[in-house]
């Protein structure tokens, strides 16, 4: 699943570690999600959406 995490992070000038700290996950998790290697669970997807104040489908894209 594609996502806009890297772009959203860059817009806020956050490093992967910054985002990881805000989500309370490992930097490796952020990396895995950003690169599409791992799709987050629904609870984590909601946390990401809440952090960026967006809807889940605005961050995670089909295909």
């Amino acid at each position: 699943m594609k996502n806009r995490l890297k772009v959203l992070r860059a817009e806020r000038d956050w490093s992967q570690q910054d985002l990881a700290d805000r989500l309370e996950v490992s930097r490796q998790s952020v990396n895995a999600i950003e690169t599409g290697k791992y799709d987050p669970s629904l609870p984590l997807a909601f946390r990401i959406a809440e952090l960026f104040d967006m809807r889940i489908e605005e961050i995670f894209l089909r295909g």
């Binding site: 992967q16 990881a20 309370e24 490992s26 930097r27 490796q28 998790s29 290697k37």
Partner: protein, 206 residues
Amino acid sequence: MAEKTKNVGKGFSGRQPGFWAAAFALAMCAIAFAEHRGLLGGWRSLPFVAAATLFLFPLTKAANNRQAAAGALSPATRRYNRRMLIWSLGYVLCLGIAMTVRNYLHPQGALLWGIAVLPSVPMIFFVWTLARYVVEEEDEYLRYRQTSAALIGLALVLLAGTLWGFLETFGVAPHVPAWWVVPVWAIGLGLGQMVMTSAERRTGRT
């Protein structure tokens, strides 16, 4: 949440976990070879096995450092590494006690059964350690990663065990004691971690 990178060692103390794992494996292979040649055997091997086990200390430290550098050292991972180290030492200790009692006391009956079972006891705690990690790990990606590595280790045990079992049945391979499942599983766990890391690098990470 994973701990941030801190004080990743350089030089001798900063070597990769693979170096210490290889050193441990080589030492054990050398002991096995010496036993095969009749130079060691039984309780005489124990001091050498105990010395080789010391490699597990820098291995655990190097694993912690590497995981911290990769942004993947969660508190649960640290506990997992520590417990694995403790029970690896416990395994060597139980094995040493069992072999010493057998060689010096020549027990029979219930005591013989007891010391035969003793080296298997730490295995219960290996499994418990893995189960506790899955329960305690709050980072879902790290949990997925470790679970995948454990499944690769299990796959290796099943494949190697089945293959060797049939080779033995058809008389083309010598008998291998069933306790070899532990080192084979440990090797599989390490290979699983390498497979996961390799997959991550292919997607342009780490």
